[in-house]
């Protein structure tokens, strides 16, 4: 089990969840991905679509930078 990080704070639709999905595809079962994203559309969609696709969203917490969040997803 390993932890990976992905920063999509500079991305826009659809790349925020496209990059998350591509990264999740590369992981092994049990691996964890920490996605750095912005509030609004990415924060609403990334955790929701991850859950819908059967991934385990472990945590959603604000990051040090204002308006930025870290979503922790387990494959």
């Amino acid at each position: 089990m390993a932890t990976f990080t992905l920063d999509v704070t500079k991305e826009h639709c659809p790349m925020t969840f496209v990059k998350t999905k591509i990264e999740l595809n590369k992981l092994q079962k049990g691996d964890v991905l920490q996605v750095h994203l912005l509030e609004g559309e990415p924060l609403e969609n990334v955790p929701r679509s991850a859950r819908e696709q059967g991934f385990n969203v472990l945590n959603v917490e604000p990051a040090a930078n204002k308006g930025e969040y870290i979503v922790t997803i387990e494959k």
Binding site: E11, P14, M15, V18, T20, S49, E52, Q53
Partner: protein
């Protein structure tokens, strides 16, 4: 996982840069949130899946070759309005990169990586003198209307 796979099928008719951007934005977005995505390229849309990205005499016969040069591939696609002789797509690509929005090429790469299904229209290929070998290897199959309808059945279908 939901009990039933959600599905989006897009008929990519246009060979315009902006409309193809819409095709690949919707396609990759849908695939990323768990949809099965089928892209059916026909007529000008076939330009998006040619192996040769620039202008090249692709096609069998004189007229198809001339068409091939004028139409070109993904890198030669014009915008549907205010193309200004091909300057606008260059400006768009610059603006997209500057604003961290995925360019058409990045979206196509993402579509390949997400395993989106690419199909080419048999009839349009015949008219334009194109063969499956003229297209990128990701093109899964060459289809006609009934096969496309069968693939799209039970999902949402768009024509762009």
């Amino acid at each position: 996982m939901s009990e039933q796979t959600k599905k989006l099928s897009i008929i990519a008719f246009s060979g315009d840069f902006d409309k193809l951007t819409a095709v690949f934005t919707l396609g990759t977005g849908a695939a990323a949130v768990g949809y099965e995505v089928n892209l059916f390229f026909t007529f000008w849309g076939l330009d998006a899946i040619k192996k040769k990205l620039g202008r090249s005499p692709v096609g069998k016969g004189f007229l198809p070759k001339v068409f091939g040069i004028f139409m070109g591939g993904l890198k030669a696609t014009p915008v549907s309005r205010l193309n200004f002789g091909g300057i606008s797509p260059k400006i768009f690509r610059y603006l997209m990169r500057k604003n961290n929005v995925a360019t058409l090429e990045q979206l196509v790469d993402a579509a390949k990586e997400l395993g989106i299904n690419f199909y080419a229209c048999e009839m349009a290929m015949h008219v334009l003198g194109l063969e499956k070998t003229d297209f990128i290897p990701e093109v899964k199959d060459v289809l006609g209307v009934p096969s496309f309808l069968k693939l799209a059945e039970g999902g949402q279908t768009l024509f762009i």
